[in-house]
Amino acid sequence: MGKNRIRNFSIIAHIDHGKSTLADRILELTGAVSKRDMTTQILDSMDIERERGITIKAQTARLSYQASDGETYQLNLIDTPGHVDFSYEVSRSLSACEGAILVVDASQGVEAQTIANAYLAVEQDLVIIPVINKIDLPGADPDRVRNELKSVLGFDPEEVIEVSAKEGTGVPQLLDAIVRRIPTPSGDPDAPVRGFIIDSWYDNYVGVVSLVRIFDGTLENRSRLRLMGHGGEYDLSELGIFSPVATPVSCLFAGEVGYLVTGIKDIQVMKVGETVTIASRPAKEPLPGFRTARPMVFAGLYPAASEDFSRLRDALEKLKLNDSSLVFDPETSEALGFGFRCGFLGMLHMEVVQERLERHFELDLVTTAPTVVYRALARDDQWVDVDNPAMMPGAGDVVEVEEPYVRSTIMLPDLYLGGVLGLLTERRGVQRSMNYLEDRRVILEYDLPLAEVIYDFYDKLKTLSRGYASLDYEPLGYRSGDLVKLELLVNGEPVDALSVIVPKEKAYYRGRDLASKMKELIPRQMFEVVIQAAIGNRVIARESVKALRKNVLAKCYGGDVTRKRKLLEKQKEGKKRMKSVGRIQIPQDAFMAILEVEK
């Protein structure tokens, strides 16, 4: 098919605005999936994604569509993740497209992620088709949303298409708009091949599979590929398209999107952003590259049972095959034993990894409180990255500490502004701008320390705004902060996994709250347990857990020894799941409790 009949596009939206439902409807209308075979939200194939209603790994489908001009077009739908943790993956999907459908909920209107995604598309010079979805719902107010699209993002009300993805209303008009408005792919079909790797994942049968967008030339099966970034050469063993089922083809032309298989086993070889060319007729310049996604949130992952360490390592290695943004390094904690310091794109990414480890690999995990990466300037003038608070050098050895900041965009009804501004101040936010929309909604731009955002900020924001506020943020770099390491000691021993880095002015309250939270969580032992919170050598809070006085079973009635034994075994099992610091048993919950302490 000539490249003037090809349209490459993604659907972008704020979470829950109906992106996946719209994708389903498009697949159905183009006949890629029959109505009977349709499981809802077909592109979200992983079960965790389906349960949470989010899309994590981008997937794609080639569709054949006969437009109103009578011609048949090839539409390549490139799916994008729908969560702020994965905005990096959104932009790499967009880099393979010429257009994007921006979906906005007809009653919710423009939200923070709508704006963020629209900007990502604009940065990539994509044609955006604004779509108002869910017009069938009783609360729909398409006129208001049309105005918002105009005032916030500058869209002409005439170009906005109204649809109901659920009922299919307006979807044929949208397909026609895709054909009419989205430009045909540029690129030279006769030039040496240049293909852009959008995504790579590991398949148990064939090894690494990569999603590729051909910009120049024609890629033929069985060619010898050269990876322009990596430098290696590999023979193509399979070339194909997703329709949405994987279907082999003999070649991919300039402008097309498909997959390729080379038999490579290591996902790190076929990196996202790599440019592939043909060894016999290589391109001169690679396509503009892609920065590697950097993990923003780190946490220690430990097996609850120490003998599971190697199972955990194997499981992380398996996950890494399909998740190039996951990083992990072995670490040792006095309290938790052998485990891994893992880096994630954000909290959702961390939760998804945790859940996969627990569900697919049946591992019982202890996770330490997530932290950001701090930078500390030591006395010897060297900057060190600190991704584990326990590793922060002592106060005397540090000249300066920096922490990562993000620029956040928050949209909310002005009714809740007071509470939300209070939250932002409490979280050390710095206001950049505040703008009112026509319909009594406000857009806030704030610079915030990432550490204040990662854990419960979003939940608090939602609570304070009765669910109406939306949030998006992007990294902003490092800024200096007045930060100290707060340590927790039990009977004089510091518990490394319970260290936390906090702003100095909050240290006293955090220390006091942490100590009293630990008092609740640490069960009574055969001796008194003294819990202290300290900054350096200075103890700022003290609590104690009184010694256990009674743990005895009464009757040995009628010789029922077995019941007694079972009770003792249950007790023993319970203790096994605790971690010990010296002789003190600490339950696993305690290691996450740092986060539950009211900030």
């Binding site: 006085r549 009628g558 020894v561 077995t562 009770l567 007790q571 023993k572």
Partner: protein, 384 residues
């Protein structure tokens, strides 16, 4: 080789002491179902008595040939065994005599509730029981109300005297403590009343709450105080604490219970009863299901195997049971019987528990301190 306690030293010949072979018979009938009780029991129904006797005899005839030796003690517990007439026990014992060797019996105990009449006690003594255990729980109306017991207790103090009149050579009572609403004063009143009725044996049971219903436990720290107070009052009253929950006047230790703690053999008859038997180097434990109807229909087929352990594993359980005794464990005797030194089973925990004041050990003996008794589960858990 097994010396129970110093108080028992004068009780008779060493052969009279466990481990030996015992029978336990469970009577799962109760007039009212007290909410604090965890044991299997149901209200009596007409016709059950006759069928139950038949079932017990049938089960006994299946087990009789497997008895490892003569029966030294019999214990009829419940439920409320005194709900069945003495004629029931006369017929039962006459059947058991044909199936087991009962000539060497040292102790035959029956449990009764505090509502028993003088006549019933005389009947039970005539049927062959020489020891009675009276379920007093508390002498006070208020405390019984807190425990959810409906019946009155005005006769309670008199029952022990009647038992003596009836000819029982050993009279025991049991008391409950550590339930919500109970004050230290209430416990002391019960202890004092208990001493005043002059029993030979007193069991002190701390309430253990069920998951959903029934009375709640007191704060464990207060219950621990009560445990110490009970020990103080009863010791001053001439009783010796020979096991975590049990106190006896010299010569009145419950041999049946001692047999459990000294890891002896026993057969349980009736629904929900438990059995243990060492045979050919392995220790077997089994239990009958908690189902009277199933038992009545087929008394030899309601068994559930609980464990079969080779001799390598059973020492841990034996040590846990033996450490409940105030006299503790004699290392040499234990090693001789189980092939393992108990100090080895405790490992490094021995020194830790000694430092924490939970265990005391000499060259031969290891025993729990009072604090160790209160925290015995912490000790036992390490042994497992």
């Amino acid at each position: 080789m097994w010396r129970a306690t110093s108080v028992e030293a004068g009780a008779g010949s060493l052969r009279a002491l466990p481990p030996f072979f015992s029978l336990y018979i469970h009577v799962p009938l109760c007039r009212s179902l007290c909410p604090y009780c965890h044991f299997y029991r149901i209200p009596p129904r007409p016709g059950d008595e006759e069928r139950y006797l038949k079932a017990l005899c049938l089960e006994a005839s299946a087990l009789g040939p497997k008895a490892p030796g003569p029966v030294r003690t019999i214990y009829v517990g419940g439920g409320t065994p005194s709900l069945l007439p003495s004629s029931f026990y006369i017929r039962l014992f006459s059947n058991l005599r044909d199936l087991f060797v009962l000539e060497d019996l040292k102790e035959t105990t029956v449990e009764v509730d505090a509502r028993i009449t003088k006549d019933e006690l005389f009947g039970l003594a005539d049927a062959g029981f020489d020891r009675v255990s009276i379920g007093i729980k508390s002498f006070q109306k208020d405390s019984l109300k807190k425990l959810g017991v409906r019946h009155d207790n005005e006769k309670s103090p008199a029952v022990a005297g009647w038992a003596r009149d009836a000819g029982f050579s050993s009279v025991g009572i049991d008391l409950l403590y550590g339930f919500e609403g109970q004050k230290m004063r209430d416990l002391i009143t019960d202890l004092e009343t208990g001493l005043a009725v002059k029993p030979d044996h007193i069991s002190m049971y701390a309430l253990q709450e069920c998951e959903e219903q029934g009375p709640r436990e007191l704060d464990p720290d207060i219950t621990a105080q009560m445990f110490r107070e009970s020990r103080r009052v009863l010791t001053a009253g001439g009783f010796c604490q020979y096991e975590i929950c049990n106190f006896a006047r010299p010569g009145h230790i419950s041999l049946q219970n001692l047999n459990y703690w000294m890891d002896g053999d026993y057969f349980g008859l009736g629904p929900s009863s438990h059995s243990a038997l060492t045979l050919g180097g392995s220790r077997r434990r089994w239990a009958n299901k908690n189902d009277l109807d199933a038992y009545l229909n087929n008394p030899v087929n309601v068994r559930e195997e609980l464990s079969v352990e080779d001799s390598k594993e059973s020492p841990a359980e034996a040590l846990i049971l033996a450490l409940r005794l105030a006299s503790g464990v004699d290392s040499e005797a234990f090693a001789l019987r189980y092939g393992t030194d108990p100090r080895k089973l405790l490992g490094s925990s021995l020194a830790e528990f000694r430092d924490l004041g939970l265990l005391r050990s000499s060259s031969r003996k290891i025993r729990l301190t009072t604090r160790g008794m209160l925290l015995s589960n912490e000790v036992f858990e390490r042994i497992l």
